[in-house]
Symmetry: C2
Subunit: 318 residues, 2 copies
């Protein structure tokens, strides 16, 4: 069999922080994400970006500035496979939306390259290279998005360096309503808005909520999950960057949403719902609140994606 020459992988959009686990928790969304095709380039030791298409075509073509190519440069530096890569990126995730777009491009590129290399990288190695890519985008690597993107489901990063990830069980039938108001907040600006210190009492209360949330997830106890999804860390400063946030929260909870919180560094927000009917009502409630504040929105409603990033082409045994 000839070695594969080109592999295309899909990596899902993700919601990081999940209200209660700042820089720790994340979950993957079904149906929305980035696709990256990676081809061998003989005679090269570097990465060349051939094309960027999709919802954000104006990204830099400089391989040192794109999360996908930086991730692959990191991989090439470590693995030295004797060839380089050409990549094509199809963005499904809007830039600066808080839906983990920079992580998804990096993860899709690494997953595709790993297949080209004969699946020789462990999940931890794939995550590590993906994070090297994200570092290029946000100045620091926050593995919450990339972990959920690579593994699927809901994940917690439990150690940083090297990254270790565990899966958090989710109650069946949970739906996510994600709303992206048309307003761009760059991750680095959203991080700059954060306080660098947390009061000890806030740390303790946030730990209490995290305990309630994790126990609720393990038990499938929606009421405990609902009571625990409180963000005392990022929301107090970041919510101010999102016009209509408080109105949208009130509307989402009044419509029966289990939770309402910022997705990652925003401006996207998400709510969980325990049925399709509730999810529809929550979606309308949030959309209405943002529109009254003069914001157009995109919405996405669906289940949490159980599978992680995956190779689309060529299919195995296909």
């Amino acid at each position: 069999m000839l070695p594969m020459e080109k592999v295309t992988a899909f990596a899902p959009a993700t919601v990081a922080n999940v209200a209660v686990g700042f820089d720790v928790l994340g979950f993957a969304l079904e149906d929305v994400g980035d696709e990256v095709s990676v081809a061998r380039e003989a005679g090269s030791r570097g990465v060349r970006i051939e094309s960027i298409e999709g919802v954000v075509p104006d990204l830099p073509m400089d391989p040192r500035k794109n999360t996908a190519s930086v991730a692959l440069l990191d991989l090439l530096e470590e693995r030295q496979p004797g060839f380089g890569f050409t990549i094509s990126i199809r963005k499904g995730i809007p830039l600066g939306s808080g839906m983990g777009g920079s992580a998804a491009s990096a993860v899709a590129a690494v997953v595709a390259a790993n297949r080209l290399l004969g699946d020789e990288l462990s999940a931890q190695e794939q995550l590590r290279h993906s994070l090297a890519g994200e570092r290029a985008a946000s100045g620091a690597a926050h593995p919450d998005n990339a972990a959920a993107c690579l593994h699927g489901g809901m994940t917690a990063v439990v150690e940083l360096d090297p990254p270790r990830v565990v899966q958090i069980p989710l109650p069946d039938g949970l739906l996510c309503v994600l709303v992206h108001p048309h307003l761009t907040i760059e991750t680095r600006h959203a991080r700059a808005a954060l306080r660098r210190e947390v009061a000890l009492s806030v740390h303790v209360e946030q730990s209490m909520s995290l305990c309630g949330f994790l126990v609720g997830c393990h038990r499938g106890d929606l009421e405990l999950i609902r009571r625990s999804m409180v963000d005392r860390i990022a929301e107090p400063t970041r919510a101010k960057l999102i016009p209509g946030f408080e109105a949208a929260r009130e509307a989402a909870l009044a419509a029966g949403g289990l939770s309402f919180a910022i997705s990652g560094s925003g401006p996207s927000v998400f709510a969980w719902a325990d049925s399709t009917a509730v999810a529809g009502g929550v979606e309308q409630a949030i959309v209405g609140a943002f529109r009254r504040h003069g914001l157009e929105v995109d919405t996405w409603v669906g289940p949490i994606r159980r599978r992680g990033a995956e190779v689309l082409e060529p299919r195995r045994n296909g």
Copy 2:
């Protein structure tokens, strides 16, 4: 049937914080605790302390200064049963040991009084009155000890006011080695040593460890538990108050202990072990390290107590 006149209850010693859940987590110890007898006193509306015996007989007899009597004063104020209480306390938990002695006296008193009142208090109400007692001892109510003491097993406080408590599953066969070096640290002094602010990065890393710990407990994954039991909040300042702490940690881990951390506000320390043989070795290792630092110690080795505080006399149907 005549109403009961006197009830004796036992409440176990507890380990709070559990390395990774400052002011949140606690677990109960088998065989060591406080006993409180509560008798009706007709014609009174208050609480009188009749005797204090046991390992710390020099506690104040002023009912406004003892956690057991303050808890009952709080209960009487709310319930107005038309009588008062006389209490006798038998302390099994050394004062200032970091083994939850003030919580145990308060919880035992409330559990006994609740039986005298016909079991009319919910667990949450019993915890609330117990915390009123603890407030008298430490200046503020930190429900981690009282929650584990009342409920048994390992608990997490997930909301503060009113307190809500959830049980955390523990792997079978886990043993606790608790070592109390003879050195008194008052809770209020141990708290004063804490920094009032936590760096955001420390908050995040501690949240990661808490996630790893809770997932490890739910899965029965001892390796994940072991890696996660890290205290970045209290230990950096409190360990300095305990001579030999670092030597004891090294010895405990070298002997196969799963963890080594301060129990509550110290100076007691605890380690978990996954077998009786390991627990014995860990005990000897910790004792040796403290003795080399000139400290005498008491030790206690045994399983985590699954049952919470309970009435000893009169027995039901007895």
